[in-house]
């Protein structure tokens, strides 16, 4: 009996914390990857579509910190690479890199204002895009001899610029939702 009483009836706080963080992350990231690969790809603005995953990773980095941001970026990046045919790990690298920038916003006094994530995603979009372009340029070199010519200026003007505008709008919509999710997770953890 005493041995039974000593056994915990509920999961330990550490286990609960992990579950409250991992499951929503997997659900949110899975849905985001699917939506980005199917739905948002149909929303074209001057040839570009919004990068939901980037907006979500930036938002999560600002809300939950650098560590969770890079985890989301890594997992989400793998997912998007899988469905998009990109070399596996390219998007993960790009998303994790912008988390460094976004993680800085967490400690800002303007973190509650949606203008800050909008500004950060405006900076993060070209960085993310250029890392992807760099990866694409060096990818054949990684696999073997040769390499592809990437038109940086054209890609920046024709892809990154319109995507930047869309991402700013997207994060303005998503950031409040993710802030609620983060608050809900915090509340769950407090219980």
């Amino acid at each position: 009996m005493a041995r039974r009483a000593g056994r915990p009836r509920f999961p330990s706080p550490a286990t609960s914390r992990e579950r409250t963080g991992v499951y929503p992350a997997l659900i949110v990231l899975g849905l985001t990857v699917l939506i980005q690969a199917t739905l948002s790809a149909r929303l074209r603005f001057f040839g570009a579509s919004p990068n939901l995953l980037l907006a979500i990773v930036v938002s999560w980095s600002m809300l939950r910190g650098f560590s969770q941001g890079i985890l989301w970026g890594f997992i989400g990046g793998l997912g998007i690479d899988l469905v998009s045919g990109m070399p596996l790990g390219a998007s993960s690298l790009a998303l994790m890199s912008v988390c460094t920038l976004a993680g800085l916003g967490k400690s800002s006094v303007f973190a509650a204002n949606v203008l800050l994530p909008m500004s950060i995603v405006a900076l993060a979009t070209p960085i993310h895009g250029w890392i992807i372009l760099l990866t694409l340029q060096i990818q054949p070199a990684l696999a073997g001899p040769g390499g592809v010519s990437v038109n940086w200026l054209d890609s920046t003007a024709r892809i990154i610029a319109p995507e930047l505008a869309l991402n700013v709008l997207t994060i303005a919509l998503l950031y409040p939702l993710l802030r609620r999710l983060s608050a809900a997770l915090n509340a769950g953890r407090a219980e």
Binding site: L39, G89, A90, Q139
Partner: protein, 285 residues
Amino acid sequence: MSRVSGSTLLFFGLAAVAMTLLILSSAGQLAPAEGLAMRAARPFLLAFNGIGRQMSNVFTTARDLASLRARTQQLQTQVDTLTIENQQLQELQNENARLRELLRFRQLNPTYDFKGGQVIARVLSPGPSNYLSTIAIDLGAEHGIQPGMPVVTEAGLVGRIHKVGPASSTVLLLTDPSSGIQALLRLKRQVGVVMGRAGALPTMDFIPQGEKVSVGDVAITSGLGGAFPKNIVIGQVVEVHQRDYEMFQSATLRPSVNLDRLEFVLVITNFKPMPGQPDDPESVG
């Protein structure tokens, strides 16, 4: 400090994993794993893609609706324009038919006592006054119009020129009380005078007793008095007023011309009324 280090370590660790995956993936070493993952994700992708297609269809339909609305407006404008053009053409066709009738009237009546051209005149407006049954036409002195000239249509007599302006004239209709026309019943050859009546059908008065006037008989101009050429149809007898104790009998006529819907008339320009006829409303033509 340790947390920062942990994050940094996590970043570099994951970055190293990502780089490794990138190299392996670029080399095609991960193709089986990627294929497996894609196979697992395939149903979800298909489902989401279906939703995306449906949403896209909705947006496309909405966009099509907007363009269809614009197209409908454009077509409606075209329809309106064509309708107006069609009405104008129909109007021209009707006008053409009426003008042909007028010309045919001229060709079919070679026995009239006049020669020369008949002027086709457009009716400008119905009579402006309730007290005088007139119409205005767009022919005047400039066109050789003179007071007293008979005005007809292919159906019969309309009246006579009452006042003449430089470019327009007033026609005194046969229904005006001041109008008097020497007439003849076509079948019985009885003479009389067709007088207009205010607000009522004209009557043919002063028909001698003797021959019985019958309803349906047609009154024509007799040519007596010199105000009108003879044999122009005036109207049809619709009612006979005959009393044995009276010297004359009378008949109510329905004018052969629908005077309320006149559009084109002919002015017989080569007919010269007898002097004093047109200027004297009381005179009998």
